[in-house]
């Protein structure tokens, strides 16, 4: 069936099998492989994207449920060749090791910072509870989100 939606600001129209999951549509049809598959059951959060501005796990949403929606993936977070402060934060604060969970972590954190520009460490951990990482120990991830939040507040103030 036909699917119309906007991904990272670009309108798309594709013919898809109705049972196609959003994550498979994004990766296999739209070619955006930064959205990862970790558990297929909404537990690990590696597949997190934004659907109309809210973080969702794309492995348990049918692509057709995104009809008419605006989707943002990790590839759409950087603007004009410049990394998003969260992407810089995860790099500079070493919030990543193997990097497989990273895009999902960043997309969840972006949702948090949109609602709460100055989250405490506990609020960050609470927000990221649906994203699992097996490598880093989370501490550097929390540091990365704090660093990005600071940077975003400073930019807004400037």
């Amino acid at each position: 069936m036909r699917l119309n939606l906007t991904i990272n600001g670009e309108r798309r129209e594709d013919d898809i099998d109705p049972r196609t999951l959003l994550v498979h549509y994004l990766r296999e049809v739209a070619g955006l492989t930064g959205t990862h598959v970790g558990c297929e059951t909404s537990l690990c959060g590696a597949c997190t994207v934004h659907l109309n501005g809210a973080a969702v796990k794309s492995c348990t949403i049918l692509a057709v449920q995104a009809e008419g929606a605006e989707i943002t993936t990790i590839e759409g977070l950087a603007r004009g060749g410049e990394m998003h402060p969260l992407q810089e934060g995860f790099w500079e604060e070493h919030g990543l090791q193997c990097g497989y969970c990273t895009p999902g972590m960043i997309m969840t954190a972006a949702d948090l910072l949109a609602h709460n520009p100055d989250p405490s460490e506990a609020e960050i951990r609470e927000a990221l509870e649906g994203n699992l990482c097996r490598c880093t120990g989370y501490q550097h991830i929390v540091n990365a989100v704090r660093s990005a939040a600071r940077k975003m507040r400073e930019r807004k103030a400037a």
């Binding site: 959205t35 995860f90 193997c98 989370y138």
Partner: protein
């Protein structure tokens, strides 16, 4: 030609001069007093932007034109005879391009590969799996160690399920125990733990013109290449294996494992590229695990608080796999004149074990350190003091003091215990490992006319930061900023390297990189020397320039030297020579943990961990700290949550999901303080030691000791789940 050099190794508090005879072209080992431009500074990862923007391509992300999707039928029975596999109905589904029988004999564990298909989409492949008809004859099975060890138990292979004991004997343990003034005896058990790498196992395989190219999620591109070359009867140069980015492995991704071979067989059968990534559930069943263990420990100690006898009788089951031994820590952490260890594999109808982060050590360290606590209590000695008295490693001696101070051990151990429902406890545990690396790896360093430098080495970055470590070492040797270096790894077209395991990657590869960079530098010095009016031997590479050592104002920019390269580039090779004399043959570490136990619910929470380690020459504290954090995290999971639960009645794992197999989440992590001792270890030109495993050895043990301390009674089984804690409280 060789050179004899004396280097000043170790730590400032305990330095030692070591004389080594090394080849002329081997750089002099980094030593105490050396000044570094980038080694030891906090360098963010070279692959950070690729990973943070989604540009990094994992095996899961590879897509080729005309690619098919593979899927595997697995046995639902723990033991069975496969009488017939009927693929015809699956082949009739439009879009199915290949179907294969994988096993037509005996099934030995639930989850074993039976058949496989390749189709034009993953959904159609899943449809096809459902149409494959397998005729099983279920057979008696056994999934638990006790049942497997009993007389008349069903044989997992043939004969007894209990393997021959591996015995190591030093001194006379029985006599020492009989004479010992203090004795303890206890039995400790640990569960099966699975790796749960975020990226599942899998491959994309493509036959083209008699050559096989495989992208796969592996810790060893060359071992996969060699395995596939044998299996498909191809010369090794006709097999290319690529692992650009890998979503975790932890020891479970070595060699051509079944899903890689099946992907290649399906590609051959269908004549099209095939991608086969495992679903999450299969990961728990079939791709490896840390075996469980039952460890019977006896200690003897004298009145001065010294261990005089250590005895371990252990058995463990890695399902149909071996390698369940856990004696390492008993032999390597605390010196003792009489040590006897006996290890046995017990085979059961469960998925095969595979190496997992410090194989055998976290389970051994748990039993060892719990027994240390039990003995310290018997001796009425402070538990830290008991460890001090039984430590002979000068590096660990310092680490214990640093850690104790940062943790506040004296204050915390003197604090009165709460009489309320929430109780706090503390624990300390020691780690050891032997990540000195090995010879074998080669490297190539290439300078281009535009000033870029590329280093190539066929190692792989399993998430630990190998790519970054290699780039730092090359940048240091060539006096360049790291942005000017590109590290190309993860491809069998690059110079040979070893699998990434045993914390061997950094100690094995960095010396080859440094040698290659030094050889490249020597060639560039020859180009630069005439312009500087100096001999090549008088030059050094620093701050992006090549300059005269005794007159640094006479310099030429590195880029300007590169412009004089005839042709497009100049390259030099480097070789990892065998280890020579080092400061120490091993490395030490210790971790302190504080926990809080709710005695009404039985829930334990880790509040704080202090981890003190040495990584040999410190290359990058930022990535090293992250490695230690990760080791601690996995240890907390092992101590409190993780366990593969088997139903003995049906022989199946009942929790093969990320929901039911509980992992540590962001809220379960305490404050972790990591401290490093920079030990110039020598032994190679970099003196780097790997830390992936030593980071994890003591973590669960420290937490377990702290939980036991909190409730005032030892809990001798992992994981320390609320039911176990409540049961122990009843007996406390």
């Amino acid at each position: 030609m060789s050179q004899r050099v004396t280097v000043n190794l170790g730590i400032p508090e305990a330095p030692r001069e070591v004389t080594v005879v090394i080849p002329d072209d081997e750089p002099i080992p980094w030593q105490l007093g050396d000044h570094f431009a980038i080694v030891g500074a906090e360098t963010p990862r070279v692959d950070g932007p690729a990973k943070a923007t989604g540009a990094a391509r994992y095996t899961y992300d590879i897509a080729l034109p005309g690619m098919l999707y593979g899927a595997i039928v697995r046995s639902p029975y723990p033991r069975a005879h496969v009488k017939n596999v009927d693929l015809t109905r699956a082949m009739r589904i439009p879009g199915v391009r290949a179907a294969l029988t994988i096993t037509d004999g005996e099934i030995r564990f639930a989850g074993q590969e039976v058949a496989a298909v390749a189709a034009i989409s993953s959904d159609i492949a899943a449809d096809a799996l459902a149409r494959i008809k397998v005729d099983y004859e279920p057979l008696p099975f056994v999934v638990e160690m006790d049942a497997a060890s009993a007389d008349g138990a069903p044989s997992v292979f043939s004969g007894s399920n209990v393997g021959k004991p591996q015995i190591s004997n030093h001194g006379d343990v029985e006599r020492a125990l009989a004479a010992a003034q203090y004795r303890i005896e206890a039995t400790y058990t640990t569960p099966v733990q699975t790796h749960v790498s975020l990226e599942t196992h899998g491959a994309v395989a493509h036959f083209d013109g008699g050559a096989l190219t495989v992208w796969c999620s592996t810790q060893g591109v060359f071992t996969v290449r060699d395995d596939l070359a044998v299996l498909f009867n191809l010369p090794p140069d006709k097999v290319r294996v690529i692992t650009d980015y890998l979503g975790g492995g932890f020891g479970s991704k070595f060699g051509a494992s079944p899903e890689i071979v099946i992907a290649a067989r399906l590609a051959k059968e269908s004549g099209a590229p095939v991608k086969l990534m495992l679903p999450r559930g299969d990961e728990h069943l079939a791709t490896g695990n840390r075996p469980n263990a039952e460890q019977k420990v006896r200690f003897g100690a004298d009145a001065s608080g010294k261990l005089v006898a250590i005895d371990l009788v252990q058995r463990g089951s890695g399902g149909i796999g071996a390698g369940s031994g856990s004696a390492g820590p008993f032999k390597m952490v605390y010196p003792c004149p009489n040590v006897r260890t006996e290890e046995r594999n017990v085979y059961t109808n469960a998925g095969p074990s595979s190496p997992m982060r410090a194989p055998g050590w976290p389970q051994g360290a748990f039993a060892l350190e719990m027994a240390m606590d039990e003995m310290a209590r018997k001796l009425k000695l402070d538990r830290l003091e008991f460890r001090r008295r039984n430590n002979s490693n000068p590096v660990r001696a310092i680490e214990l003091e640093l850690g104790a101070r940062a943790f506040g051990w004296p204050e915390k151990s003197a604090a009165p215990k709460s009489s309320g429902p929430i109780r706090r406890g503390i624990g300390v545990a020691c780690a050891a490992w032997h990540a000195v690396g090995a010879s074998g790896p080669e490297a190539l360093a290439i300078a281009y006319r535009d000033g870029r430098v590329e280093i190539r080495c066929g190692t792989q970055d399993i998430g630990t930061g190998t790519r970054t470590a290699l780039a730092i070492v090359a940048a240091e040797e060539l006096g360049l900023p790291i942005a000017q270096i590109s590290a190309e790894i993860g491809d069998t077209r690059y110079p040979f390297s070893l699998p990434s395991g045993g914390s061997m990657s950094s100690p094995s590869n960095t010396p080859a990189i440094r040698q290659a960079a030094a050889h490249l530098k020597a060639k560039l010095f020859k180009i630069a020397a005439p312009a500087l009016g100096a001999e090549p031997s008088d030059l050094e590479a620093r701050d992006g320039a090549i300059r005269v050592r005794f007159d640094p104002a006479r310099r030429v920019a590195f880029k300007d030297v590169c412009r004089r390269i005839p042709g497009d580039s100049i390259s030099a090779g480097g070789e990892r020579i065998p280890n020579y004399a080092a400061y120490r043959p091993d490395q030490a570490g210790c971790q302190f943990a504080e926990v809080e136990v709710d005695t009404e619910t039985g829930v334990a929470r880790v509040l704080r961990v202090v981890a003190v380690h040495d990584a040999g020459t410190m290359i990058d504290p930022l990535t090293s700290r992250s490695q230690i954090n990760g080791g601690v995290l996995m240890g907390i999971g092992y101590a409190l949550f993780e366990t593969r639960r088997m139903d003995p009645q049906i022989g199946l794992m009942v929790n093969p999901t990320m929901d039911d197999y509980k992992l540590v989440g962001p809220l379960d992590v305490p404050q972790i303080d990591v401290m490093f001792l920079n030990v110039f270890n020598g032994g190679t030109n970099t003196g780097v030691l790997g830390i992936g495993e030593v980071a994890h050895v003591a973590s669960a043990a420290a937490v377990a000791c702290a939980v036991s301390d909190a409730i005032g009674a030892p809990i001798r089984a992992l994981p320390m789940t609320p039911d176990r804690i409540l049961a122990a409280l009843e007996h406390a």
